[in-house]
């Protein structure tokens, strides 16, 4: 007999998973309502803004996680590198600099995808090596300091707003739509999910697995570059510190959204929800006067919880 999901143990597990999820949401919604100043347009925009930068990196991470390669630790560094390329190339005009930064982001990640896809190298180790190389070479070139744009006017178009939404939020929301379409409605997305579900089966079916993995990292690089460009435009300078720490928050958003660590299942929509949830918690903590360490602790608890819950779902 093979009746998946029907054994008593599985029923019990599912119930636990759902009740934990419901409880967490209830606590967050409850404290959001009870926190003075949270349910206001200003704080909604602030929350969205906070979610967007992490969210862009998280969208890139989503592709990597779904492809079965778990996570990358070099996305933050790629963001920094793209931001640096952007400020350095502002002489090319806004869009020229954007193109250069995007190209840099794609190349930096695609190179790692190439090594992972064609040599079967451990994705996390490769990303650590990538992080080292980017930081090392970046420090050599920039001297480790802040780099200011040669042509400050080039930043202007990126400070435009659409109604109450700034450029960051607009790019993020568009990014979610594009990522969702890529994953669910294209040949690339279908092959990517197949590779994440079973790389062996994908290869036996005739999918060019190494090429798909390379493309996956290239897409991740694209999203990092978008985040890098907007970060540079906002801060009006770039440094290797610009993207520091984003990997962890991004990965947290992916997992909290419910994309499975083992690959083959997940969506951009889920990642957006994960990023919004983290951002909402951040806003609540700020409004209530908690310090940075409380945020770190909560993020740790959330990531741990998400992994435990999702691995019990994976069984």
């Amino acid at each position: 007999m093979n009746v998946p999901g029907l054994s008593r143990a599985a029923f019990g597990r599912e119930r636990v998973v759902w009740s934990v999820k419901a409880a967490v949401l209830a606590v967050i919604v409850g404290s959001a309502i009870l926190t003075p100043g949270f349910v206001t347009p200003a704080s909604a925009i602030a929350t969205l803004d906070h979610a967007a930068l992490i969210g862009l990196v998280a969208l890139g991470m989503t592709f990597i996680t779904i492809s079965g390669n778990q996570l990358s630790l070099s996305l933050g560094a790629t963001l920094s590198a793209a931001a640096l390329v952007f400020v350095v190339t502002t002489g090319l005009g806004t869009w020229g600099a954007c193109a250069a930064a995007i190209l840099a982001g794609i190349l930096l990640q695609a190179a790692q995808g190439l090594v992972i896809g064609y040599f079967g190298a451990n994705p996390i180790i490769v990303s650590i090596a990538g992080l080292g190389l980017i930081l090392g070479i970046g420090t050599h070139l920039t001297g480790g300091g802040e780099v200011y744009p040669a042509v400050a006017d080039a930043l202007k178009p990126l400070h435009a707003r659409i109604g109450p939404l700034n450029m960051l939020i607009v790019v993020f929301l568009l990014g979610v739509v594009v990522a969702e379409l890529l994953l669910s409605r294209t040949r690339f997305g279908r092959q990517l999910i197949a590779v994440g579900s079973s790389a062996r089966a994908a290869a036996a079916t005739g999918i060019r697995t190494p090429a798909v993995v390379t493309a996956t990292y290239a897409v991740a690089g694209l999203f990092c570059a978008l985040a890098g460009i907007i970060a540079a435009a906002r801060f009006r300078y770039a440094s290797l510190e610009t993207g520091a720490g984003y990997d962890y928050d991004a990965f947290g958003s992916v997992l909290i959204g419910g994309t499975l660590l083992r690959g083959g299942f997940g969506s951009a929509w889920r990642t957006m929800m994960g990023a919004l949830l983290l951002a909402a918690v951040h806003t609540i903590l700020v409004l209530r006067g908690y310090s940075q360490e409380a945020q770190y602790i909560l993020l740790g608890v959330f990531v741990l919880g998400a992994v435990c819950l999702s691995s019990s779902e994976e069984r």
Binding site: M1, L6, R187, A201, I207, R208
Partner: protein, 521 residues
């Protein structure tokens, strides 16, 4: 046998949600004998085994050992009572020696030193199974699959197993290894164990079992002394309807058709040498051979999965270089793996997505998919292979083995009828199949055989390897036999040649064919 049977199951029922997995099942196994347990996928065999192993608790009914009721709450308790299961997934540590594996996790082993008594015990156990005691020092990783299975049995013997449950032990074995395994099973039974032998292969029931119990829809459909029952009756009991011819007739019209694939001098270093054969339009070519003969690898090589393979292919009149899997797919070579769980399907994906994973460009251009067309393609394929279209969004892992195989097959069906929506599609023109019905029950097998025939009707060809000779000969229009990497014979299809084919692949002289394996079936 004095009074009560060694193992008896009385009126056991088990329900999962709305599914009645077992209903009032009673069977018994005597010491010193082999009980065959047959049934289609979903008949309740696995549930019964899991109850015996303490993984599930029955809703009602009882289990008795030597006539005494026992309650088995966990696998550990089951083992303590002497009930042991050897399943298809072996639990051996490949880097450790056979002896270490035998005692791994046993509470009899002192912490540090190797006792001579333990060594002797292990040697006795492997000797009972017909293995050379020198094997004890070899790492398990260097053994054949059959030998590993015997090691797993030896491990259980050394833990005083009295009831040994074997779950489809021959699924991956060659005929010669099966003969060895059967000898070992007889040895185990002769020591006073009760053996419960679960199999899909009916021939084996007649070869190794003393009694046979048939499960159908969770109930015992029949229980017989093997000597009193014939094959047809057994099949009827398993599938619950009159059994008609298993293998559909060959197309016939294909006789005049030309060669579509010509394979010359296919060589895989140290696996296969100079293998040549041709496939005509509409033809099913079977490759027979034991494990290690290179037969399965030849099929994989044609699929583009063996990088070191070389050979001259002529495909539809043009030379074709053996390339990567993706290259071969592009040329029109579809492949169904022998390892359905690992290579054949995407366990976590829906049935729909499994069906359209290699959808043609017409349905899935570089930018956005034509979702409607993809849905139609999936629906069409599901209907053709006989999968309930309402289940398309469900994970493929929820299906039985037979239905999973149908989904894998459905990927390669002719989608000409939907071409109006998606443009012309260049269909795979050659289907390569390894072990097309492994883990597939009798009813679904007949369906798959019909689908294989239908596939060939469009002038396509099919090359199949199967360790089930009866199936191979029943399905194929022509058969080539392989022995140690070389072609050793060529035959027309049809079961009448089974003795010769068997002699060829085991390289036994024709006169010796009356030995154990030949009486199988």
């Amino acid at each position: 046998m004095a009074d009560a049977p060694l193992l008896s199951v009385h009126g056991v029922s088990k329900r999962f949600g709305v599914v009645q997995a077992l209903k009032d099942v009673s069977i018994s196994a005597e010491a010193g004998s082999v009980l065959g347990l047959c049934g289609e996928n979903g008949a309740g065999k696995s549930t019964l085994v899991k109850i015996l192993m303490g993984m599930y608790r029955p809703d009602s009914g009882s289990i008795r050992l030597d006539g005494k009721p026992v309650v088995i709450r966990s696998t550990r308790e089951g083992q303590g009572l002497g009930i042991a299961l050897v399943s298809q997934e072996l639990s051996l540590a490949n880097d450790l020696s056979v002896e270490d594996n035998i005692w791994l996790g046993s509470n009899k082993v002192p912490l540090l030193h190797r006792s001579r008594a333990l060594r002797r015990r292990a040697a006795e156990a492997v000797a009972t199974l017909g293995l050379d005691p020198a094997i004890l020092d070899r790492p398990v990783g260097t053994l054949s699959l059959a030998e590993r299975q015997l090691v797993e049995i030896a491990r259980n013997l050394c833990r005083d197993a009295r009831v040994l449950i074997l779950d489809e032990p021959t699924a991956t074995l060659s005929d010669r290894d099966i003969a060895k395994l059967f000898a070992a099973i007889r040895g185990v039974a002769a020591q006073g164990c009760a053996v419960v032998y679960i199999t899909h292969r009916l021939g084996e029931v007649f070869e190794i079992c003393d009694r046979v119990a048939v499960l159908r829809n969770g109930r015992v459909a029949g229980s017989h002394v093997v000597a009193d029952i014939d094959r047809g009756r057994l099949i009827e009991e398993m599938i619950g309807r009159q059994f008609e011819g298993m293998y559909p007739p060959a197309a016939g019209a294909s006789e005049a058709a030309g060669t579509i694939l010509d394979v010359r001098g296919l060589t895989i270093p140290s696996v296969a040498h100079d293998v040549s054969f041709a496939v005509a339009a509409g033809e099913i070519v079977g490759i027979a051979g034991q494990i290690g003969s290179g037969a399965a690898e030849v099929v994989r090589a044609l699929a583009g999965l063996v990088p070191e393979a070389v050979g001259a292919l002529t495909w539809r009149g043009r030379p074709l270089r053996i390339g990567t899997r993706a290259d071969m797919l592009k040329a029109g070579f579809a492949f169904v793996s022998e390892d359905r769980g690992g290579e054949g399907m995407f366990r976590n994906l829906s049935i729909r997505n499994n069906l359209v994973v290699t959808a043609p460009r017409a349905l899935s251009p570089l930018w956005l998919d034509r979702v409607r067309a993809l849905d139609e393609a999936a629906t069409y394929a599901a209907e053709r292979v006989g999968i309930d279209t309402g289940r398309l969004p469900h994970p493929v892992s929820q299906l039985s083995g037979g239905n999973q195989q149908k989904v894998v097959f459905g990927r390669f069906l002719d989608k000409k009828q939907i071409a109006g929506n998606g443009g012309a599609r260049r269909m795979p023109g050659l289907l390569l199949m390894n072990e097309p019905t492994r883990g597939v029950d009798v009813g679904a097998r007949a369906d798959l055989y019909r689908l294989m025939r239908e596939y060939c009707r469009n002038g396509f060809g099919l090359v199949v390897y199967s360790s089930d000779l009866e199936e191979l000969l029943g399905m194929s229009d022509s058969v080539i036999t392989m022995y140690r990497g070389r072609v050793s014979g060529r035959y027309p299809g049809g079961e009448e040649h089974i003795a010769k084919v068997l002699a060829d692949i085991t390289h036994a002289p024709q006169s010796a064919q009356v030995s154990a394996p030949a009486t199988r079936r």
